[in-house]
Symmetry: C2
Subunit: 451 residues, 2 copies
């Protein structure tokens, strides 16, 4: 980050001195991620003036590192043929992502300007629904025939290097494009030059289907420590790869989505900074209003006990404390479980064992918190009140924890996303349960007239 | 996952038939991640019987894919010399991780059995505190001299391949081990064989310090799409690399930690399933008890208004609803901001712009939720009550959102981790604020005696 800020200030100084050439020379030596980041920070006209002077290959490489809105404005400055050249120079997956962001009229104008191969590739890659493996894969993977030698295979990869996302893994396909095996460049370099690809290749290869969630490709890459995972279609034909760098982006986006869902925020299209206020409003309001109506039950539970409250108004002192405690313990359990399910640490079959553990844990937590609240209860209202609040605490913390632990399993079983609003829903259930248990116990246990 | 389950059942069948050799033969053809996963699921004695029959290289490769507790029990079955051989065969970073898990007496017994180079490497790698780049890096990276040709460099990498984590990136160092540049194997293969490394190497190379948080290495690898990032010490000498696969593990662990912290759960040592109950208790109880005592303020705020409550006991109906709404809106804002800061999407300088946006957004959310609660208020208590609850709603949702948005910035400025318990703390502040605003408005606006 600081690195990019330094580069940015250097570029700004050069531009203020009017030395555009020096600025471009300076940027040409930097990593595309840095150049993209710097251009992102400049204002529109300056940004475009710089971008326009970079050579075509560089433009194609830095564009994917820029904010989507800036990518669009750079591209829309260009004439149609320059646009087509730029798209042609980009990596297949990044080209498809950019193309999908373009307005429909620009898309239509562009298509005829592209070569047939690129056109077909683009149509295919953009046909997969968002969130699937197909939508993040690239079609530019290296292949080698089975019958050639290691030396020949290296020579083939050498020729493919410029147009493929990686040549570190090469795929061996039959005439139907079924995957026979893979060889790595490292394996080819280490092998004796005359050894055949067929003898060198690994034949047990994990793969992933185009329609699988993109998170599955990321998980395979993480679990197997892969550079790339091959993608196959319905007929088991190889159609692309997902690379390790795209897998990291997917993994990060998945974590962000789960974190947002945990706080009942819907899936944001991209950066928080770049998201329009109206979109943010839409993503936040639904659960908030739903929870307002759900909380009518909390109110209704309270009104069952209006007489008890009027007789012992001091009870209300402990109400927020008890329901917040149940909610906090329940949210902890729900959050732990949602994440453990998401990372594959815990599976459905583990439910019973986890439930037993949670009973022990909920009791330990509840008893500790009961001791704390008993002390406050003693101080404020004597032994009877202390008894009621501590008993309530044990019950609501234990039940909050058990509900928090079980709800993600239930949602998962129902094929719903356990991440969605688990913590706020658990808090709401804990609220209602807490009110009923607290005032129920108080009416039963407290001596009748307090005032 | 299902793949591993299939392999497991195949292995179990072979074992039940008493055909250990066939089971081993079958496993030898699978990916180490799968073999590790299968052995993890078998019971102790069977697991060890299988593990013992695998060849040394395979043992060294599958061990890192097993649960830490199983790794330990496999290793402790072995004699001291077999242990030393196994450690020698492992990758440097995985060896260091395993070594740190061993009981102290085993560590001490092992050290003299290791060769001097491994011993020193092990001592150095285990000397970095957990959570730093030093603790996740490996010392096994490939190097090439600057003055040789591309052809010679490939030959050098070929000889290093077996002992290095990757030969796809090679580092060019001076005699003081300062990093002069990097070449990739792909670059070397594409270059004309006579070209010199010096002319081919990239000289602008990002690096990371041993003491930096490991998340920083993961972030650089993600942002720059790297295969590995070089690690330097205080004197700027290269001491290791962090590879893309380890970066994915770091990124996932960081996300898990942030998710847990968001629900006020401390940093877990590993898998939820494997963590001892007492550890889980420790990681959960601190914030729960702190929040119990914090919530005494909520109680105290309520007792300020006991007269108002006794006069209008119906007010309590809306209490859980209003404080839950403020807490939910505040948690949303806090969660969005914590994650945006963690991913680098939002930086400190963005605070004012984000605050302005949040005012608009908080108002929009508050007004919508006020409309919902006004309807309920009208139905339950008439225009006056509707007025009080809807006004309270706008104020508490707006202030909840603003506090939720600002707290992570403040924690970040104070060099504290914004992820820590932001959402529960915001909910607690929202509780107190909600109570004061609600009953304050009610005392001021409601006609004096209700009953």
């Amino acid at each position: 980050m600081t690195e990019t800020a330094e580069i940015e200030s250097e570029v700004r100084t050069l531009l203020e001195q009017g030395d555009l050439d020096a600025a471009i020379e300076f940027l040409n030596n930097r990593h595309p991620a840095e150049v993209g980041g710097v251009i992102d920070e400049l204002d529109g006209e300056t940004a475009y003036a710089l971008f326009d002077q970079l050579d075509r290959r560089t433009q194609a490489r830095i564009l994917p590192y820029m904010q989507p809105s800036h990518q669009l404005s750079m591209v829309q400055h260009l004439g149609r043929h320059a646009q087509a050249r730029l798209l042609t120079d980009m990596n297949a997956d990044e080209r498809a992502d950019l193309y999908q962001e373009l307005p429909e009229d620009v898309q239509e104008a562009l298509m005829p300007a592209l070569a047939k191969a690129e056109r077909e590739d683009l149509l295919r890659l953009t046909s997969y629904p968002e969130g699937t493996v197909g939508s993040v894969m690239t079609s530019e993977y290296a292949t080698v025939p089975a019958h050639i030698s290691a030396r020949q295979a290296i020579e083939r990869l050498r020729l493919q290097a410029l147009n493929k996302e990686t040549i570190y893994v090469a795929y061996v396909l039959d005439t139907e494009r079924h995957l026979l095996g893979i060889v790595t460049l490292s394996g080819l370099v280490v092998a004796s030059p005359g050894e055949s690809v067929e003898d060198l290749m690994q034949t047990e290869v994990v793969n992933v289907h185009t329609d699988a969630p993109s998170a599955e490709a990321a998980r395979l890459i993480a679990d197997y420590d892969l550079l790339a995972v091959p993608v196959v279609d319905d007929e088991d034909r190889m159609v692309g790869i997902v690379t390790h760098d795209d897998a990291m982006d997917v993994q990060e986006a998945e974590a962000t989505e789960d974190i947002h869902k945990g706080a009942s925020v819907g899936d944001l299209p991209g950066s928080l900074k770049e998201t329009a206020l109206t979109t943010l409003y839409q993503k936040r309001i639904m659960w908030l209003v739903l929870l307002v109506f759900a909380n009518v039950f909390s109110g209704a539970s309270i009104s069952l006990y209006e007489d008890t409250i009027q007789a012992h108004v001091g009870l209300v002192f402990f109400l927020p404390l008890l329901i917040a405690s149940a909610g906090n313990a329940g949210s902890q359990s729900a959050t732990l479980m949602v994440r453990a399910i998401a990372t594959g640490d815990v599976i459905s079959g583990d439910w019973f064992r986890m439930l037993l553990r949670e009973i022990g844990l909920g009791l330990m937590l509840g008893l500790t918190m009961a001791a704390a609240v008993a002390a406050i209860g003693l101080y404020r209202g004597g032994a009877e009140l202390a008894h009621v609040v501590s008993l309530t605490m044990v019950i609501v913390v234990l039940s909050g924890s058990l509900i928090g632990m079980s709800l993600p399993f239930v949602l998962n079983k129902l094929n719903m996303d356990p991440a969605t609003a688990s913590a706020p829903v658990v808090s709401f259930i804990a609220d209602v349960a807490g009110i009923l248990v607290y005032f129920g116990l108080a009416s039963a246990l407290l001596s009748i007239p307090a005032q």
